[in-house]
């Protein structure tokens, strides 16, 4: 899925964002359902077509699309253990990504990586299951662009919990020092697993920490795709123009548990009750309709996203498992 930054212009960026959110949501809805296949009656994480941990981005799609709408395939993105929405918005091949999640040979990494290790070199996307790990490589990728005379940027996504990792501090300082064309996008969903932001972070806003690194910090409230699009656009423009890095913290919402199976019980009941009303996709749909977009057009995008997700699942299911030789082949390049 090409971003509007590269698409031929006939798809307006707001529709593109809507569509990218839908694709992620449609795929994750299916993943969630399939995740339970084979794991019940006594839930066992090791079983079924999608074993292991599964972190869904449901509710956080605006962060991905508002940022990635500005990116080119040659821009680099590093993401986290919660990568699907960002991957899809960055243009990662959905079929190959889904096959990876199913551990298949046709997966992006032939099944060696899995859901926390989505690597697509065609669009320069990677992610990691270790908190903070992607921050420094993003600075390096940004510096590489600068050294190679490209005006590409790098974007590092992290959670508000991840902002308390030492690696983030080191990476942000390097970025500020070297004026690296990198943008740190902090998806503030208020929780790191069960630990709330107030229990983990000495200041209310990570965007205020930008001053510690000599870079602008912007806080975007309300999980609003358009506001994210604006803020990210400005930060990415600055970065491409050689004006250096930025931090953007986005208020977003984790509508599901930390991973599939987590029931969010540590969240106050009132907060949990409110979650469905915060779903950004219907909210954005309403806004688009209110602002004159055609319902039929939206429905077309919805259908397209559903069928893309179906196709990805079908592709993954139909694919073969890798042979053990694959695991031996790629320890070294």
């Amino acid at each position: 899925m090409q971003s509007p930054a590269n698409a031929s212009g006939n798809l307006h960026h707001r529709l593109w964002m809507y569509q990218a959110m839908l694709r992620s949501r449609e795929l994750e809805t299916r993943i969630k359902e399939i995740y339970f296949e084979g794991k019940l009656p006594v839930f066992n994480m090791a079983k079924g077509p999608i074993p292991g941990e599964m972190h869904l981005s449901v509710g956080q799609e605006p962060c991905a699309v508002g940022v990635c709408a500005h990116l080119r395939p040659t821009d680099v993105v590093t993401a986290t253990h919660r990568p699907h929405h960002v991957a899809i918005a960055k243009g990662v091949d959905m079929n190959a990504m889904t096959a990876e999640i199913f551990g298949k040979k046709t997966g992006l990494s032939k099944g060696l990586g899995g859901h926390m290790h989505i690597f697509d070199s065609a669009v320069n996307f990677s992610c990691s299951g270790i908190i903070g790990e992607g921050t420094a490589p993003a600075v390096g990728a940004a510096m590489a662009a600068k050294l190679q005379g490209r005006d590409d940027v790098a974007v590092s996504f992290l959670g508000e919990g991840g902002a308390n990792q030492g690696q983030f501090h080191e990476a942000a300082n390097l970025a500020g020092l070297w004026k690296a064309p990198v943008i740190f996008i902090i998806e503030d969903n208020s929780y790191g697993i069960s630990v709330s932001k107030a229990e983990s972070t000495a200041v209310p806003r990570n965007s205020d920490r930008a001053a510690a690194y000599g870079m602008p910090g912007v806080y975007v409230s309300d999980n609003d795709p358009d506001a994210i699009y604006e803020a990210a656009g400005e930060a990415i423009r600055r970065a491409r123009a050689g004006e250096g890095p930025s931090i953007i913290e986005i208020e977003t919402h984790r509508l599901e548990g930390h991973f599939v199976g987590d029931t969010n019980e540590y969240r106050p009941q009132a907060e949990r009750d409110r979650l469905p009303s915060l779903d950004p996709i219907p909210l954005y749909r309403e806004r688009l309709l209110a602002e004159g977009y055609e319902g039929a057009e939206l429905e077309r995008l919805e259908a397209e996203a559903a069928s893309a997700a179906d196709a990805a699942i079908a592709f993954a299911r139909a694919s073969e498992f890798p042979t053990f030789q694959e695991a031996l082949n790629h320890v070294f390049a």
């Binding site: 839930f43 994480m45 941990e53 099944g111 859901h115 990792q165 983990s200 498992f321 053990f324």
Partner: protein
């Protein structure tokens, strides 16, 4: 020998026994020790409200309050380092590194700070800290959430490094660890933990006394006696070794099974006593092969002048590759009973 008898690893315990999972045993140990000693403090990610991702700290927050049961930011170097400072001041912190795989973000706090306080201070500063951490794979959690890294910790001086194989040992060893004046890396294997959402080797669920008891941190256990061959395991591979011994028994091969329980210190005497008797050795390790536990056990036996080898020592370990996600690949890479039996058979027949 303070571990449960051979039978507990092998057969369901008698009905009036109280059988617990390792998770429950650890939780009980923490409850009891926090009640008994108010210098004990628990600190880490998701240990409070959530009760711990590994089920070890449930109920502690309610019982002992937020001062002594602390949820932390995702700042392992910070809170483990802070624990060292607390420990020097007379607190006995139990901290959790959620997955051992995350050691790389905080190893300095463990292997430099905690491990060397005693040495650098000439014995004046103590570090009575327990670092609990989960190890092991087998459930497709991929390359950053499935490692064992036993030897990574065993190699560096100043740390005690233990891994219980069953709930009895788990409780008794955790109580010993908390009371120890040194940093203890307390590893629990996810495949033995008894979480609802992960399969659990049945042999780990054993009778656990309700009261207070200690299991030493420096003794291997002979969990099954035998005379033809010594099988050495730790964590999950101890269970594989017991299962292999049962298969071998049917073929008339009498295998002795040793559960290392501690890798630092390594109980070389117990290993040697067995290999001197059997003259044959197979080591099963789920950590990476090279520079791992299996090599150390073999070298220990081979250096000994009293062992009369009937066949060369053999080892089964995780190959030197990152842990692949796809279940078919991961299962192929993991040590298992079948391969262990094959190696034992080879040791019985070949030189």
């Amino acid at each position: 020998m303070s571990s449960p008898d051979t039978e507990t690893l092998e057969a369901p315990a008698a009905s009036r026994q109280r059988r617990l999972t390792i998770a429950r045993a650890l939780n009980e140990a923490l409850h009891q020790e926090m009640a008994a000693d108010n210098s004990v403090l628990v600190m880490g990610e998701d240990l409070g409200k959530m009760g711990g991702v590994w089920g070890t700290t449930g109920g502690l927050l309610d019982a002992y309050g937020a001062e002594r049961v602390r949820d932390t930011p995702i700042s392992e170097a910070g809170f483990i380092g802070a624990a060292v400072g607390m420990a020097a001041a007379g607190i006995r912190p139990v901290v959790e590194l959620m997955f051992v795989d995350f050691f790389g973000v905080c190893m300095n706090a463990i292997s430099s700070l905690a491990a060397k306080q005693s040495f650098f201070s000439g014995g004046k500063v103590k570090c009575p800290m327990v670092l609990m951490t989960s190890v092991g794979g087998g459930y497709s959690d991929a390359g950053q959430h499935s490692q064992c890294l036993y030897a990574t910790f065993g190699h560096l001086p100043g740390l005690k490094v233990v891994i219980p194989t069953n709930a009895y040992d788990a409780k008794g060893m955790l109580l010993s660890a908390i009371r120890d004046d040194n940093p203890v890396v307390f590893m629990f294997h996810k495949g033995l933990q008894g979480m609802g959402w992960l399969g659990t080797a049945p042999g780990s669920v054993v009778h656990v006394p309700e009261g207070d008891y200690l299991v030493p941190l420096d003794k291997a256990a002979v969990v099954r006696e035998g005379s033809d061959i010594t099988l050495v395991g730790l964590g999950l591979t101890t269970h594989h070794a017991v299962d292999a011994a049962k298969v071998l028994a049917k073929e008339g091969i009498s295998a002795e099974v040793i559960d290392l329980r501690s890798i630092a210190p390594l109980d070389r005497e117990t290993i040697l006593a067995s290999v001197r008797k059997t003259g044959r050795l197979v080591v099963a390790d789920e950590d990476y092969l090279s520079y791992g536990v299996s090599a150390e056990v073999i070298a220990t036996a081979c250096e000994d002048s009293a062992v009369k080898w009937k066949s060369r020592p053999r080892r089964l370990a995780y190959p030197d590759i990152p842990i692949p996600y796809s279940a078919v690949l991961e299962q192929e890479a993991l040590p298992n009973v079948e391969r262990l039996v094959d190696l034992a058979r080879a040791a019985m027949t070949e030189k």
